[in-house]
Amino acid sequence: MGQNGRKVVITGLGVFASTGKERESFFTNLINARSGVRRISQFDPSPLSVQIAAEVPDYNPTDHFQPKRLDLLDRFTQFALLAAREAMESSGLEVQEEERPRFGVVIGSGMGGVQTFESGCFNVYARGATRLHPFTIPKVMHNAPTSQISMEYGAQGPSFSTSTACSSSAHAIGAAFHLIKYGQADMVLAGGSDTPITMSMMRSWESVRVLANGNGNPASACRPFSADREGFVMGEGAGILLLEEYERARRRGANIFAEICGLGMTSDATHITQPSVDGPARAIRLTLEEGEMRPDEVDYINAHGTGTPLNDVTETEVIKRVFGEHARRVAISSTKSMHGHAMGATGAIELVATVMALERGVVPPTANYTRPDPQCDLDYVPNQAQERPLRAAISNSFAFGGLNAVLLVRRLKSDPM
């Protein structure tokens, strides 16, 4: 291994989201600008002022898991296992016994098993329960998906969970990338999962006043970069990718979706909710530096693009600062306009979209764009997918709390023979 580390590639993709429960339907819906936002169905949302979310539709846990297994799986772990299953199947990877210590799992989550925890709290506070189910802790803990996936696939290498709000899964994937690059693992399942659509979480977000209120027309509620944007829509889901050391992937004849070659991480260190320009801009510069790429080699930016008035202006400013003149040529889109803001899972779900865009040369649009905002004056690929050759792309994740993580992926350059 040289000083610059080993090359790392993405050989498996898995996604479980409101816009698709596997990658093909997920990406088809994105490029056709189909929204996954609907009226909330997991509970009666009538008391809420915002009654919509990007929920995974028609989800029945017993279609996927045995009842006994479900006793131990909160919804966020179920989603993670389903996305991991797709990532493993798409990779064709068969892990040999002796390779297990070199196989890791890194999964991010912002809220963990909040559904299990809330129902437990309700039983304690409202019903006076004196004890809770003994599985409460193993279901609620943030590392439950990491542990369950690790057991499912016999991954005995470096494994942990990350929790940095909206950047959780970008940090997880970045950490996995570095584990392989610097030789601590050869394969890592990495991504995120979050299922925060509960009455209490919705109430909490209502108070922050960042949710779009689109009860009358859920599908068009989230309008990133558009002048009439009102905020984000709460989402849920999981995205998991298999990262693999390049030589190993090549030897086994794996299908390589893309190379992951950059991670930029910074902290704003300014304000707990308001984003800065400096922090995210430094994160993008760092990821380009690690990937040894010039800004004008990046053809697509999957934006953090929450659709809040503040984020989208700030992110536009960030892109202009880093990319200069190229900012006007690079394709930028927010797929959150369709799959909502899946919190700790969103970075991974967006990286799946980014990798598929790169692989197919199709940029998914920013849906629901109606009219330009003078402060957001770049090419956001409004409403219609664009076919264009893409060499490299970045995926932005800027968390509440000012913690930024930017991932850089590129089409695999063929080796000199």
């Binding site: 009842p67 006994k68 006793d71 004890r131 189910h133 003994p134 599985f135 193993p138």
Partner: protein
């Protein structure tokens, strides 16, 4: 009340086992019941029988026969000092 039949029913339900799997001769280890699942069964039995099962009795429940025996003694208010003595020499159900 048929304590044994109720115990078999509760264990079968909580472990999602096919009917007929749990018999009076089954041990927890044969049924694949780990320590946390054992706690869950204990809670379910307390609800079912509307009683508190003392720790000393609970710690000696490693088979269906032991569960039925322990429960019967608690329900009938019998002496459990032998179980207390055994429990004192035993280890906690869960680590970490």
């Amino acid at each position: 009340m048929d304590v044994a039949a109720k115990v078999v029913e509760v264990i079968t339900r909580e472990q999602h086992l096919p009917p007929g799997t749990v018999t009076l001769n089954s041990t927890f280890s044969e049924l694949g019941i780990d320590s946390l699942e054992g706690v869950n069964i204990l809670f379910a039995l307390e609800e079912e029988f509307k009683i508190d099962i003392p720790d000393a009795v609970a710690q000696n429940m490693k088979s269906v026969t032991q569960v039925v025996d322990g429960l019967t003694r608690v329900l009938e208010g019998k002496d459990i000092s032998d179980l207390v003595a055994i429990a004192k020499g035993s280890t906690p159900a869960a680590s970490h």
